[in-house]
Amino acid sequence: MPDSNISFIPFGPQHPVLPEPIHLRLVVENEKVVEALPTVGYVHRGLEKMVEAKDVNQMIYVVERICGICSCMHAMAYCQGIEELMNVEIPERAKYLRVIWAELHRMHSHLLWLGLLADSFGYESLFMQTWRIRERVMDILDKTAGNRVIISVNVIGGVRRDIDTEMQKWVLQSLDAIEKDLREIYNVMKDDYTVKQRTVGVGVLSADDARELGLVGPMLRASGVASDHRMTGYAAYKDLDFEPVVETAGDSYARMIVRMKELFQSIDLIRKAFARMPEGDIAVKVRGNPTGEVISRVEQSRGEVLYYIKADGTKNLSRLRVRTPTFANIAALFKILPGCSLSDVPVLVLTIDPCISCTER
């Protein structure tokens, strides 16, 4: 039976398990995927071109909307780049605040991802429970920054808001509660038979594969490469000693564990940041327009983002190039989808933690 056994299944762009539009051309035999080609473009807006319409400061709001989930870190990378171009040193307190909000964003992103992963393999109650916990993180964001998702705290020269001592105490209390709940979920996920059935050994990528595919973030760390851009010590990370979370198996299970452990790491980092945060201003005034070109890199929840900024001294930048982590990670789909089973397709798509709006900008 040469051809008669082959199925062609268009997967997406509208699909309940993938909240975002991505299309996969799947060639399937029985339940095994033989060929898979992702095609994208359903969310492409052309944000890089927006530099021609918006000025340097307005662009913050645009880059935040590259992706709502990691908006804070996009703004952070952008602001750090512009600050470097203009030789601005921002206050220490602002650096700590940036870290705190970045880590909160990482938490809500990872929790969101965990829920979606659970949803992709039909573990609905786990989806609900993780999102229940996530609501607490959203509460913290809401209370400290004034909005739930896109918080717009970063400005060139610092941050817009401060977190006072009383609020800090409340945040820390919330974090304790979150950690307790998370610990329970972690224990379940770590050992659950059905979860392991669906993730262990699924979509394995070795360290060499991962480097070849140019993967970043948790994808890379789950394959045993200790690459976390926070190690370079931008913002306040240089003062917050931490070790990157690394797993070696390189399968979906390892990716899940990495992200779950990073949740605890983030809680830890926020606590440390609160403890070590100095008093002082939260922003400096910045004047003038930037000139020159710079590359700014920040570790987002999905991995390292690269901002290439080129300015020519006018109020508009001349080129902004964003290489988002998901843009890099989507390459993994070419490699892990062929050979998996049809029911693993959503799981594998989710283990790369896709964010199509990041990917396509």
Binding site: S7, G122, E124, Q129, R132, D192, T194
Partner: protein
């Protein structure tokens, strides 16, 4: 069997049982929500859903879909009617299988990837639960010497005493039939599934509503069979059946969806072995 008796049984099968079936589905959704830390829909939600579906525009892809739905419904209704008339259990299962086959036929007749894959998986599900169901009934026969429900119910001690493992097999069968995790492969009770809605993908409006209703009949039939295990202690049987449903809901909430291969291995590896042990013991002891 006088006329009153016949009317009573028909009423039971055509009105009372399906309503209870719908309520159980409502209870299922409520309980699932509670287990997930949510408040959940009202118990009557399945009835609202079905009523709403009836009022929608009728969209079909082809005629065979419609015919299949009606045959599915008819076979589910008939099997429950036959159950209340205490007919032959094996016949009831075969009548139920007409509906199952036509559900697959209806889904296969649509050239959509998702309903087709759903139909293929549904066939595998049938392959998994049908032998188990037949073996459960064979176990009952070995105990009672008849396939007739009337005869099965006519004798003293409850079957569960000697067929405990077959009752456990019922858990697998019910799980597959209720489309609960880890067996929600062909179409999930929940809305999020990798196959969209699996073999129900191309059904909508009236036809989806009819499938829902047929599903209540099927559910009640299976619960009826599980109640048989406890006869003459009917109350105990009903409690046990409800417990079975609750167990399914709990299992649904603590497991992920697994794969077709796993299901086949599991239902054949565990289900058949349990059934075999139980039947062998009964056979040797008799």
């Amino acid at each position: 069997m006088n006329v009153l008796n016949i009317v009573f049984r028909l009423l039971l099968a055509l009105v009372v049982f399906p309503i209870i079936g719908g309520l159980i589905v409502g209870l299922d959704r409520k309980l699932t929500a509670r287990l997930q830390g949510r408040y959940g829909p009202p118990i009557l939600q399945p009835f609202y859903d079905v009523l709403k579906l009836f009022s929608k525009q009728r969209i079909i892809v082809n005629e065979f879909q419609v015919i299949s739905v009606f045959i599915y419904l008819a076979s589910s209704v008939l099997s429950l009617v036959l159950f209340t008339f205490q007919s032959d259990l094996l016949m009831i299962i075969f009548v139920m299988s007409i509906g199952a086959v036509f559900l697959v036929v209806g889904a296969l007749s649509v050239k959509s990837a998702y309903s087709q894959v759903g139909a293929q998986r549904e066939l595998m599900q049938m392959l998994s639960y049908e032998p188990l169901l037949i073996l459960i009934i064979v176990g009952m026969y070995l105990m009672r010497g008849s396939f007739n429900i009337a005869v099965i119910m006519s004798q003293g001690r409850p079957l569960i005493e000697e067929l405990p493992l077959l009752f456990l097999v019922m858990v697998i069968v019910l799980g597959i039939k209720m489309r609960k995790s880890p067996f929600d492969l062909s179409a999930s009770e929940h809305a999020h599934q990798e196959l969209v809605r699996g073999l129900l993908t191309d059904y909508s409006g009236l036809y989806l509503g009819l499938i829902d209703i047929a599903h209540w009949f099927d559910l009640m039939l299976l619960l009826g069979i599980s109640t048989l295990f406890f006869y003459p202690h009917i109350v105990l049987g009903i409690i046990a059946s409800l417990f079975l449903v609750i167990l399914e809901i709990v299992i649904d909430n603590v497991t992920a969806r697994l794969t077709v291969k796993w299901m086949l291995t599991y239902s054949y590896g565990l289900g058949l072995v349990l059934a075999a042990i139980n039947i062998a013991v009964v056979y040797i002891l008799r």
